[in-house]
């Protein structure tokens, strides 16, 4: 009788390939401190488990000379709304982030520019929407205010998460078998080599260390 659950597990394994399992990725900086706002992308070979769906739409506000949030992760095809809450005009200029501008000039679809009028007291803030079709990291800037920086990460994998203040990205279920792991951070200009993981039923914890110490935003 005790053999039955094991047998059942074995059959399921044979039927669906390796067992899906949870995956936890911890991102550290060069000094070993947890890094927030890193993007963890997993490309599993297998199928089966359902990913936690990514939001199809996002809002990025321009408030007090900043893009809020500083990082927005969306799936390809998502619509992002840019809303200007400041009293003065802002540009939103998008360009491929990091070295992509040089190495992948074909990502021309991620170059864009728009100007949003400043908010007038008592009236709704002005906004523009944009659809992001091409995967990649996009650096946001403002022509008028050079200190403004933000990023949109358009992912090509449903298994994508952003790390929290604890540096952790936790996937409840990833399809079993081999999977590629990519970690991206705005200040990690040279992409880290991707790792190959082996996902099984047991919970897997992987640590990835950046080669930089990202600066933190002042409050």
């Amino acid at each position: 009788m005790r053999v039955l659950p094991l047998l059942f597990a074995a059959i399921t394994t044979l039927a669906c390939g390796a067992m899906a399992g949870p995956l936890q990725v911890l991102v550290l900086d060069k000094e070993g401190k947890p890094v927030r706002d890193a993007v963890v992308v997993v490309y599993p070979d297998g199928q089966g488990a359902q990913p936690v769906p990514l939001a199809r739409n996002a809002i990025i506000e321009q408030e007090k000379m900043r893009f809020v949030p500083a990082l927005t992760v969306v799936p390809a095809g998502a619509t992002v709304r840019f809303t200007n809450l400041d009293r003065w005009d802002h540009h939103v200029r998008g360009a491929p982030g990091g070295l992509a501008a040089i190495t992948e000039p074909a990502l021309g679809g991620n170059n864009f520019e728009m100007r949003l009028p400043g908010k007038i007291e008592g009236r709704p803030a002005s906004y523009t929407e944009r659809v992001f079709d091409q995967p990649g990291a996009i650096l946001l800037g403002c022509h008028l205010h050079g200190s403004m920086r933000g990023h949109v990460f358009v992912t090509d994998s449903a298994w994508t998460l952003q790390t929290g203040a604890d540096g952790l990205a936790e996937f409840p279920q990833v399809p079993g078998g081999p999977a590629r792991l990519r970690v991206w951070h705005a200040e990690q200009i040279l992409d880290l080599p991707q790792q190959i993981l082996s996902i099984g039923a047991a919970s897997l914890r992987q640590t990835v260390q950046l080669s930089v110490v990202p600066r933190t935003r002042r409050m």
């Binding site: 007090k64 400041d86 022509h143 205010h145 050079g146 200190s147 002042r218």
Partner: protein, 147 residues
Amino acid sequence: MKNKLLNFCVASCMAFMAIPVLAQSAPAPDALYQAFGEKSGIAALMDDFVNRVVVDPRIGKFFKDTNRATLKASLTDQICVVTGGPCKYEGSDMKSAHRDLDIRKGDFNALVELLQMAMEARGIPFTQQNRLLALLAPMNRDVITVR
């Protein structure tokens, strides 16, 4: 002689006492706006000043991605308001505008130096120069981000 020394003491004490008052954005001294040539004079001053700032080897880097025309217009409004002129400054507060930049005391001082040179070039009297600088000086608390 004694009298002169006393006068000097009184004057410098008053100057020191004046600092905390100015820090709470005291009104500009009368006619400061006029002394700077009103809005057109301030615009010309800011034009020359920003041109000096963006090429300065010490602090030019902070402005490499900044739109010059917008910066000049925004500074003109701000200085106009500070000197008591009839303008409206719609730009950012100094803290928000600078918090994402690494600005040290030396950078702030470099900017003050360039402003003094620009004022000198426009022949603004020394006393008026100092009045403006005294009104701007308290901003160092919000502008300097690295202490």
